[in-house]
């Protein structure tokens, strides 16, 4: 057991050493196209009919040109509905980032962009004290908004994005008459959604094509 822990620690240190060796400086290329970034994110969900919630997830980016980047993400958001129901969202999707200004990479700190995209959207609602009463649905959604990278080093950035996501599917609603709580599905698509504010941490790990 002891030797296994030591071995795992050794492997972890080796991995970290490898990533540190890459450091935060990058070779000079004519184009920024081809950079792949990897990172984690926290999301605050507001103005949802369920209430506000916090989410955690991750993403990777593939930059297509100096002005266009793509963001591929997955989020898990949990929302408390009036202390009676848990509403869970899973978003798996992608967005296109268009940089408003040219040449705003590091050493310039602020790199603003507009963002729009699509995602697959899973929602499950569960009555807290009676987990047997639950309903879920898969759907599709589109999102658009604005954001900015804050380039801390050549490889590292923190990004703040604010976007509104509209669900293109039948929503699940909580029906509470004071004595019983039930989950029902809307018969029509209501185009409801939520405002998602995301803080993400991103690290450029590789350049897929070198130009």
């Amino acid at each position: 057991m002891k030797s296994k822990i030591l071995f795992l620690l050794f492997v972890a240190l080796l991995c970290i050493q490898g990533s540190l060796r890459g450091q935060d400086t990058i070779p000079k290329y004519k184009s920024h196209a081809g950079w792949v970034s990897l990172g984690g994110r926290s999301t605050l969900s507001l103005f949802d009919s369920d209430g506000k919630g916090i989410g955690t997830g991750g993403q990777f980016r593939v930059q297509l040109s100096n002005r266009v980047n793509t963001d591929w993400f997955a989020d898990y958001i949990s929302i408390n509905v009036n202390d009676k129901v848990r509403s869970e969202y899973i978003h798996i999707g992608w967005s296109v980032l268009y940089y408003v200004f040219n040449n705003r990479q590091h050493p310039k700190i602020v790199q603003p962009y507009i963002v729009a995209g699509h995602c697959f959207d899973y929602n499950k609602k569960t009555v807290l004290l009676q987990p047997g009463i639950n309903k879920d649905r898969w759907g599709s959604a589109v999102q658009a908004g604005i954001g900015s990278h804050f380039n801390l080093t050549e490889r590292f950035d923190i990004s703040l994005t604010c976007q509104y996501m509209i669900h293109l599917t039948n929503e699940l609603e909580v029906e509470d008459d004071g004595t019983t709580v039930d989950i029902v599905e809307h018969k029509n698509s209501s185009l409801e959604g939520h405002l998602l504010t995301t803080v993400s941490l991103n690290y450029k790990i590789a350049k897929l094509w070198k130009k």
Partner: protein, 193 residues
């Protein structure tokens, strides 16, 4: 007599530490520095006004003097306020980065770390027949200070503000302030340029 001996011993230790610091001030905080620590961390949870304890471990790597990537875990140890804890457990894992403000061996930092908690309520204390395990998204910010004594160890203090919710069985706010302090270990994995 014992007191005098103890004082002498403390002075010798302090002198030794000071000599080591002067001898090795050159560039401990630089790209490739890895630091790790394990400590007992008390906390204050705003929702139920209870004090909890965690076994707190972290591993951090410096990409340059200003930026580091860090992973941290908290293993729930129990409730100090009450004999019967509201939680059976409330473990958590965080991953993120920190921005460091360094001067010689002093390192003040702030950081952002998304995370998740693995939480289960205590059924008896919450008047429930049974409880289920919840995976809850968390968001945390950290402020801390490290003093690198030499190339091997450092002292640290850290405060973490966590926000999140446990939405299983009964809604519980997981908004919490955690404190950590102690002795950590560090190692320079890359040669100085």
């Amino acid at each position: 007599m014992e007191k005098v001996k103890a004082t002498r011993f403390t002075l010798i230790v302090l002198l030794f530490v000071q000599v080591r610091v002067h001898a090795q001030q050159a560039d401990i905080i630089r790209p490739g520095l890895i630091r790790a620590q394990l400590t007992i961390s008390p906390s204050y949870m705003f929702g139920d006004k209870h004090t909890y304890f965690y076994l707190h471990g972290n591993l951090e790597g410096f990409l340059n003097k200003k930026i580091s990537v860090v992973g941290e875990t908290y293993y729930y140890l129990g409730d100090q306020t009450s004999n019967n804890s509201k939680y059976e457990y409330n473990h958590s894992v965080f991953f993120g980065l920190s921005r460091h403000f360094t001067k010689k061996n002093n390192d003040l930092y702030i950081g952002l770390q998304p995370g998740i908690s693995l939480t289960k309520l205590n059924a008896n204390e919450n008047n429930l027949t049974s409880t289920s395990v919840g995976v809850n998204p968390l968001f945390s910010t950290v402020v801390g200070y490290n003093f690198f004594v030499n190339r091997v160890f450092h002292f640290f203090v850290q405060t973490r503000f966590i926000t999140g919710e446990h939405n299983y069985d009964i809604h519980q706010s997981l908004t919490e302030l955690r404190f950590s302090a102690g002795l950590g270990f560090n190692l320079n994995m890359l040669k100085a340029k």
